[in-house]
């Protein structure tokens, strides 16, 4: 079966890969482009750990046909930090012990970023809704909710600077 070429922007860089026609985006990111940030969890849209932003919209990389991403702009958890400076969400996840085994963390951070990008001042219910598609089996969710709310409180100051 002939491979299909796919080109898109990944965390601000132009990238290209050859994919099998039915490959999902997660396979291309991990095997083709060595971006191991998003994880393969369930493969059925239940767990959310493969969450990425495609043209700013939260999507599941394992259910996205890679070939449909031609020309898109894709952001993964790997692009959240700016060099050595962590994203406020990443700092808040550390400070609030929001990561334990860490497997859900890429999806949680990405879903949280999708929320804060569109609503910099979310309430608790907004946060719960935003991470409703992400399963965590360690923390019981409360530290994650607290971390996202804390990150939101630090954001406006950073955005002013």
């Amino acid at each position: 079966m002939a491979k299909v070429p796919v080109q898109f922007r990944l965390n601000g860089s132009d990238r290209a890969a050859f994919a099998d026609p039915a490959d999902n985006l997660l396979t291309v990111l991990r095997r083709g482009l060595n971006d191991f940030g998003p994880k393969y969890g369930c493969g059925q849209g239940t767990c959310g750990t493969c969450s990425v932003l495609i043209d700013g919209e939260l999507r599941l990389a394992c259910l996205t046909l890679a070939a449909s991403c031609e020309g898109a702009s894709i952001e993964t958890v790997s692009g959240m930090a700016d060099g050595p400076s962590l994203h406020p969400l990443q700092n808040a996840f550390m400070e609030h012990f929001a990561a334990q085994c860490g497997f859900c963390t890429p999806g949680m951070l990405t879903a949280a970023k999708a929320l804060l990008d569109r609503n910099p001042n979310p309430g608790r219910e907004d946060v719960i809704d935003a991470i409703a598609g992400n399963i965590c089996r360690c923390t019981g969710y409360e530290p994650i909710i607290q971390a996202i709310l804390a990150a939101a409180r630090t954001l406006p100051a950073q955005r002013r600077s």
Binding site: M1, N24, Q44, G48, S51, R59, L65, A67, S68, D129
Partner: protein
């Protein structure tokens, strides 16, 4: 032979490709088809993508609403004209799934998925179907679902239905054990024209109470000409279980679904419109 991929620029081209080869699977939002690929249930044949912008169009301003089949749940939620459908759209998945899952795809979701189709069934929706090259034909959703169960393969171009006259005439409820995102114990949609006084032409549909979403015709008859008072609601509850064949799955037993359905139906009807 691994899966191949074809891209159709237009809906009619896609319908022609689908009609010509039974091994072609149409890909919409991907939440059902890519899952089958990932789990090894779909391993050969051809995936078909459609890039026709008409597939995502929405006509929502008038009394007749026309939605392209590739309109996503998120697009429904972003549209204030469709506020009456927001509860049904929110019943589907989490935020990422709602950015992907389409209203056309929901018609192909097996129980306990497919809650949005339940809402469309209570709205007497017409499915615009393309079977090969040619123009789209309107098929009542109930008939379409029965055809799908028989394995008919047709392209859904769009979905049309009338806007409820009063917002309180349309009601939707999904019962799940995990909130805010969980599989359906059951879902109920009710379109109750005249809910402020006497109901005429009620439409009530259930999800997860049979292998397919289905119309609760007993409840519809029981509500005809009635008010939503204690007597009307009691009559509806008494007819609630007519025709149900719920399954036992990891979410609930068939016994439990039968027990709780009349209770939830009564609560939905008692809501202030």
């Amino acid at each position: 032979m691994p899966l191949a991929l074809r891209v159709a620029q237009s809906l009619s081209e896609a319908a022609g490709i689908l009609a010509a080869d039974p091994r072609v699977t149409l890909l919409s939002g991907g939440t059902l088809v890519m899952r089958d690929v990932n789990e090894g249930r779909l391993t050969d044949g051809t995936l078909l993508r459609v890039t026709d912008p008409a597939w995502r169009q929405m006509q929502v301003s008038g009394s007749r609403i026309e939605l392209g089949a590739a309109v996503t749940m998120a697009a429904i939620l972003a549209n204030r004209e469709l506020a009456f459908l927001h509860a049904a759209a929110r019943a589907v998945g989490g935020p990422a799934i709602r950015n992907m899952a389409t209203i056309g795809g929901n018609l192909f979701a097996g129980t306990p998925y497919g809650d949005f189709a339940v809402a469309l069934l209570a709205l007497d929706a017409q499915v615009m179907v393309l079977a090969g090259y040619g123009s789209a034909r309107a098929v009542p959703l109930e008939e379409f679902l029965a055809g799908r169960a028989r394995g008919e393969s047709r392209l859904v171009a769009g979905i049309q239905f009338n806007r409820p006259v009063a917002p309180g005439d349309f009601r939707f409820l999904k019962v799940s054990r995990v909130k805010p995102k969980g599989l359906s114990v059951l879902s109920i949609a009710a379109h109750l024209p005249g809910s402020g006084s006497r109901i005429g032409q009620a439409r009530v549909a259930y999800g997860a109470m049979a292998p397919l979403p289905f119309r609760a015709r007993g409840v519809e008859r029981a509500l005809e000409g009635k008010a939503l008072d204690a007597a009307g609601i009691a009559a509806a509850r008494a007819a609630a279980l007519e025709g149900v064949q719920p399954v036992t799955d990891a979410i609930a037993s068939d016994w439990y679904r039968r027990e709780v359905l009349p209770v939830h139906l009564g609560r939905l009807l008692a809501e202030r419109g």
